[in-house]
Amino acid sequence: MSTSLLSAVTPLLAQIAPVSVEWSAVAPELLPTAMALVLLLVAIARGRELIVAVPAALIAAAVGIWLISMAVVVPGAVVIAVGFALPASAVAFPRRQSLIRAFSAAAALVGALVLTGWQYATVLAPTAGGMTSQEALQGALANDGIAFFTRVTVYLSALLILPIGYGYLQERRINRAEVEPLLLLTVVGMAALGTANDLITMFVALEVLSIALYVLSGLARRDRRSQEASLKYFVLGAVSSAILLYGMALVYVATGSLDLAGIGSSIGLVTTPRVVAALGLALVTVGIGFKISLAPFHFWTPDVYQGAPTNITAFMAAATKAAGFAAVLRLYMVAFPALESLWVPILAGLAAITMLYGAIVALVQGDLKRILAYSAITHAGYAIIGVTANSDAGLTSTLWYLLTYAIGTIGAFGCVIALERRRRGEVTLKELRGLGRTSPLLAGILALSLLSLAGIPATAGFIGKLLVFQAGIAAGLTWLVIIGVLSSVIAAFFYLRIAATMFLEEPDPERGLPVVSTGLSLGVSVAATLIIYLGVYPQPFLQIVETAAALVR
């Protein structure tokens, strides 16, 4: 009976899905996407969860059975189990909706990480030698080193942010039903940006993640700063998207091609109008410079980072940067290598300005979220060094740098959240006084995260900086690395200032203790462990990074 049903359904499905879809290339994204849809539907259904839950369970069952019939047994079984567990729990614990949402989202992210690992083992590195690349959906997606590392960074960041932000959202009463689905959609957009191999996919992915982030940063509806952040982010983001789109259009006009490899092969030809291509490149640089907040296109960053709910800020700082840089790496290294003489000096100059500007302006900030925002700007400058190197080493070092930066940033913002929950307001340096005495563990983790951002040995950030500097020197950009060193010393000054306030000053007895929930301590502890582990014994990961330069070109 069941076999006859299957034999009836399978050709039907085969008809719907074009034959050439390489499911393995998008497998990790399917899970968060599906979960986002389910959570959104549950959110819309409000009190009548069963209306959503029952069809969702049926669909999950159907998909699971189909997967098992295609001999993909374990994932199929997991899909069925999750499909039933979710609605069942929604019905069973009606008062714990937000906890269920958070756990479901986390489960989807864990699944996505597992699938990313599976993808690495079966598709990207089937043999021990190194990474290969896979082209999917007629060249629209490239599944390779950049995609892999973007996925790891983005999923990991989201997974860490969920427990860290859970109590914070609840306390500020902004744990509305759309938070988790929007977060998952953002993540999917970011992962898609990491795989996007033509201009259209790239733009769509960028808009998916941006629009979800516009909403998320305005989550605190009664907080004027959050509203301001959201509006500012939206307006400036829309302008930068327009500029980017215009640049992409010019590149298309010049080359007649939308996929990056095609652009790359035709942009160097004599028949290609060089001026149009160069103009397109310039506009793309400006547009993408906004997204990854390179100086002088950074001016939205401090206000948005300060105003947005802190867990969203942490996620933006860590993951958006990784995704944005994935696009940068692909654009410059796959589409524009022929115009190298044009963009390398420009990007090197922007990197120098960004590193110095971010570090110097951070010196005079008093608000912790603003300091970290300027530090995020500085770090974009370091990551760009790897791009400017325009080499395999530069590519891999940038990917590694973004991962280490993301972990350090999440650790730091996580601790800021604990402080913010104490006073429900902005966290200035004064708030940190004597924290090393009142809550030594939290202060220790914050200090460790800051040391990692400063790039001191025995933390992940050191290995990140080491690789980026090495790529820069190997590419002959010693001057840029020297500027990087100078800005590192300046940056170390303000990181140290934070550490000094915590450990070297006496606590103010009137201030209460920071609020550390289980989720928060779990999240920041994992971040701290990763910082030390990747700083002392990075070999298992570095080994993967070293082979990540196999791109779809």
Binding site: R437, V489, Y537
Partner: protein
């Protein structure tokens, strides 16, 4: 796992144990002391296993660390690193005993910071992989920053940050040079970098990058300005460790890395460095003379004394350069002992102003006697350790550069002045104030800390031969590498000219 790794690992394990247990302060102190004594024992085993006749890096240990970027966890010692490791492991338990009662605030953190610092310093002396070396070199900043910043004096915040940023900047410049060398070899292994042949221009820039990193650490005039602040504000233990061991990371680095890696640049810059050292010797001495704070005075005396070490290093003769290694140890012992004495006095009086003291010798005869002995050692009185280091340095310098030798000798004369004058003002004369009359003499614990130091001061002064025997072959090896490097470069240059013609 070899003996070097064990020596390196014991303090870290001690620090971990301190972090895990949550017992009382007494248990913490005992854990830390036992760990540091075990480290000392391990380093004695290291000394026993060491082949004195062998000039090369020996007892090598190699573990894979980050093969993806060609970095190895590789350790080895030669005579120079051996004596400095011994100095470190010898001083650490003494420092812990010295601050047995004086540190009460956040004691566990203090002890753990010292143990981590000890590991970092041993790592610096034993690493034979450039990345590993840099790893320990920069990591040592963190515990030292905390020691100065948390347990230091009134101006500790400023001093700690200044210390951190100065050394970080120097270190990062060296990192650029290390990465450049890595670009040439593809590994961070010491021997591979040593085998490189670099052009004169490359050598010049790379040498300068290494020089800045080490010169900040030593500190060489005019990069010394962090030192008086750090020394004065650090707690007693921190000052002892800073003067005794951390400064040696700079002179050690010059000898181990800067000289043999860049022989042409070394010979090219050597006269300049002799000059700078002489300026530093005289400057440090004169500024020390003008200090009213006895701790600051000794801090400036360190600038002067370390000037002698750099002078001897760049004299590039076996006599002078070996003596400068011996002088590193001597400075560690005598300045360390002076800082301990100052610390003990400060605990009693809570002031360090020389003018506040007078006629103490009648009241505290033991302290006065030890103070005088250590001061005499520091000013290089024959028969004590300072002399057997400083005299050969001056002799060697005089042979190659008379002016430098003569001027440096003035520094030795000034040392007598800046050390004996405060001694006279503090310990002799009338016992005029009530505070002075109520100062108590050293307790047995404090004497116990100082006695091992004084024994070594006298022993090295009377019979320095064992120390020289350990150090000399290794110094000879380095100087041969410098000379051969210069010859080889000359040959390359010669053939190039022949080709040109």
């Amino acid at each position: 796992m070899g003996i070097i790794t064990i020596t390196l690992a014991i303090p870290v394990l001690g620090a971990l144990l301190l972090g895990l247990h949550d017992g009382d302060d007494r248990t913490s102190k005992i854990i830390a002391l036992v760990a540091s004594l075990a480290t000392f024992v391990a380093s004695i085993v290291l000394l026993v296993q060491f082949q004195v006749s062998d000039a090369n890096l020996q007892l090598a240990e190699r573990l894979t660390w980050i093969p993806a970027i060609g970095a190895e966890f590789s350790l080895a010692v030669d005579g120079v690193s051996l004596v400095l490791i011994l100095l470190t492991t010898f001083l650490t338990p003494l420092i812990l005993v010295a601050s047995w009662h004086s540190i009460t605030d956040r004691l566990r953190g203090y002890l753990a910071a010292f143990l981590l610092l000890e590991t970092a310093v041993i790592g610096v002396f034993a690493a034979t992989d450039l990345l590993l070396f840099y790893f320990f070199f920069e990591f040592s900043l963190v515990p030292m920053y905390l020691i100065i910043g948390i347990w230091g004096g009134a101006g500790r915040k400023y001093a700690a940050v200044k210390f951190f940023l100065y050394t970080l900047l120097g270190g990062l410049l060296m990192l650029i040079a290390i990465l450049y060398l890595y670009g040439q070899t593809g590994t961070f292994a010491y021997s591979d970098v040593l085998a490189l042949s670099l052009s004169a221009t490359e050598q010049r820039w790379l040498f300068l990058a290494f020089l800045v990193a080490f010169a900040v650490k030593v500190p060489v005039f005019p990069l010394h300005t962090w030192l008086p602040d750090a020394h004065t504000e650090a707690p007693t233990g921190g000052s002892v460790f800073l003067a005794g061991v951390l400064l040696k990371m700079g002179t050690f680095g010059l000898l181990r890395y800067a000289l043999p890696f860049f022989p042409d640049a070394t010979t090219e810059f050597a006269p300049w460095l002799l000059g700078i050292s002489v300026v530093g010797i005289l400057y440090g001495a004169i500024v020390a003379l003008m200090q009213g704070d006895i701790k600051r005075l000794i801090a400036y005396s360190s600038v002067s004394h370390m000037g002698f070490v750099v002078l001897g290093t760049f004299a590039l003769t076996t006599t002078a350069t070996s003596a400068s290694v011996v002088q590193m140890v001597n400075h560690g012992l005598s300045t360390g002992a002076l800082f301990l004495l100052i610390g003990f006095l400060y605990e009693r009086r809570h002031t360090r102003q020389i003018a506040a003291f007078g006629g103490l010798a009648k009241q505290v005869p033991v302290m006065a006697g030890l103070w005088l002995t250590v001061s005499l050692s520091s000013l290089a009185l024959p028969g004590l350790n300072g002399f057997v280091g400083e005299f050969p340095i001056l002799l060697g310098t005089f042979q190659i550069n008379r002016t430098a030798g003569v001027l440096a000798t003035f520094g030795a004369v000034l040392a007598a002045l800046y050390l004996l004058w405060p001694y006279q003002r503090m310990f002799h004369g009338p016992l005029d104030t009530a505070d002075n009359a109520n100062t108590s003499d050293l307790k047995p614990r404090e004497i116990g800390v100082l006695v091992p130091l004084v024994v070594l001061i006298v022993a090295i002064g009377l019979y320095p031969k064992p120390l020289y025997d350990i150090v000399e072959p290794s110094v000879d090896r380095v100087l041969t590498e410098v000379a051969e490097g210069v010859d080889a470069a000359g040959d390359v240059l010669g053939t190039a000219e022949e080709d040109g013609s």
